[in-house]
Amino acid sequence: MPTRRDFLKGLGATAAVAVTAGAVSVSASGHGEHHGPEIYEESYGVLTDLTKCVGCRQCEWACNEENKLRPSEPVESLEDQSIFDKFRRPDDERYTVVNRYKGKGLGGSDMFVKVQCMHCDYPPCVSACLVGALKKDPWGPVTYDAWKCIGCRYCMQACPWQIPAYEYNNLVTPRVMKCTMCFSRTTTEHEPKPDIKPSNFLGRGLPPQEKGEPSGKAPACVSACPQEAMIFGKRSELLEIAHERIKKHPDRYIDHVLGEHEVGGTAWMYIYNQPFNDIDFPKDMPDESPAALLESIQHGIFKKFASPVMLFGACATLMHVNGFFKHGDKHDTEGGSDHE
């Protein structure tokens, strides 16, 4: 006859499993090795020198043209300065926007800030996606495959830069919208999406893109910039340029490259003359990617599937000890044939 002691023992065992799992998770999070997606050592990125930006919004226009977003807008619409009156964010119709900050520039002039996806080296959105619709291409860009997407929007919850936008008003085929670093323009081996026909229906999850190589072309916004405020190139070289500029003009820049270390480093980086908090970049960004923390917790708990298997074994043992199987046999011999 099982007693209350057994019951408490059982509870104790379960609690112990839970606590161990928690302890594993905490200890695992302490020394997070850098796993993350595969990235080429010579991956590409963009360096934006915000002190050079004059707010012409050519980049916005070029982006919309290249990615066929809001294509009907004439170039003349760029003249409209009233658009700066309102603070804007990239949304489902714009991959990139430029905002104005009055009097925050050099010598009290206006400051303009272009924002778009940062293309993190260890992107939380990629880690969050449960169907692998978001991918970090080893040479730089974070891309999105709408065919895989189920629309859970976990990527939006995960993004520390608050970049991905959702087509909430698209009833049938809503997409997550964000800058792709002009993937089809900047990559050589861009394989077209597979045709949708019943025969390859099951194959639609198979990798449509081989690892692309940079084609040498810069993203549309970078090419469009008349001020050359943005440079497209290898990330390591961009960092060298950034630090060189900061060293050369200590009066012009603060000694910080946004994106060098934030959330594990980003492909898109900024240099600027004021603390970045002042121009609405997120505050208190950790140096480690939040994805690294979560992945080490999850993989810690489920390492080699040991804890679920142990739990299963413990439960089976408890069942055996407590007579789950014994009672049944007794019943079979005593009670006879109720299943015939």
Partner: protein, 410 residues
Amino acid sequence: MIQKGGPIMSNNSHAAIVKPPFFTPGVCVVAIIALIGLTGIGARFLFGLGHVTNLNNQFPWGLWIGVDVACGVALAAGGFTSAFIAEILMKEDFHDIVRPALLTAMLGYTFVGLGVFVDIGRSYNIWHMLLPSMWSPNSALFEVGMCVSCYLTVLYIEFLPIALERFKDRVPWPAVNGILHFLDRIMKKVIWIFIILGVMLSCMHQSSLGALNVIAVTKIHPLWWSPILPMLFLLSAFCVGPSMVIFESGISMRSFGIPYHYESPVLAKLGKFLPFLLIVYFTAKLVDMLNRETWVYLVDGSFEGKMFMLEVTIGVILPFCIFVSEKLRNSFVWLWAAAMMVVAGVVLNRVNVFITGVNPVYQDMTGRYSPKGWEWCVTIGCICIIVLIARLIILNLPVIHALEGGHEHE
């Protein structure tokens, strides 16, 4: 005498109570709300998320994820906790609670699945997460999705013997009857696997559900964000499981006209273990708070601080005081009230983690999220649909023993 296969497979009962009719005035009200909820689901699939919800780029997750999914999963914890007590620890006293708890878990998870289906933008792609070529083991949501879909299957399999018991020997066709008996025999042999799988999968996804927001470290208020969120979610699920069993038994005893003395002694015994579970949860929360020094947010007078205090007071401290007193525990009204508080506390906690505590970087642009009327309609309507299905099943299948007794006495 316990039959092979434990309490799911056996039905030792009190004398039967006369069954009430399906429709009563109260049920009619529930049915009307359910219909409005169905209209809401229709509106979502006709007009899209943008028209039916207040979700935006700052707040991608709202009521449907916070309540339908997070609370639904938590409140369905009664299934695995009671299975653990009654079938794995084989506490014979608790056999009567297993089937109702199993039913609520099954329907609860169905509600979760429905909630996800309505919430995601491309509902027709929901099966993608099961496709091996798209598996993404790095994603916490992948783990939740896989576990929930597996667990839902396990729950339906666990429920199968109850349906078999109702229909075997009562179908006019011998061939079908033979199949039913064959299935029943198989189920008796393998049910233990599914019972343990249910407990295992529950522990896995209850904790992974907490892990979801660990990635949003810069957005979730420090009172709720914690690296041990998975553990806190699991521990609170342990608390809310038995509480939910007490809470629902109170409701079903009332609605099916079962006298309280039938089940309240068992439920009081269940209540005896809650102080222990609550204190473990509370300790974990407290240690985490002291460790990360987040208590400063408690006293800064912020809305979040007040919500946190409310959550802990209603959900942990007050019910602890009630459950710990033997006198109050043995009074069914107090027991039920305390269980309800734990349930309310956990609902509040899930809502806090998924909605209240979310502070996106640019929320000033859009304003804080508050659910649209349609969102409420769908959530409340879905709960009503589940209640109606539960009533239909309880009245027609041997779930609540007091309603079924008579045909398999010792």
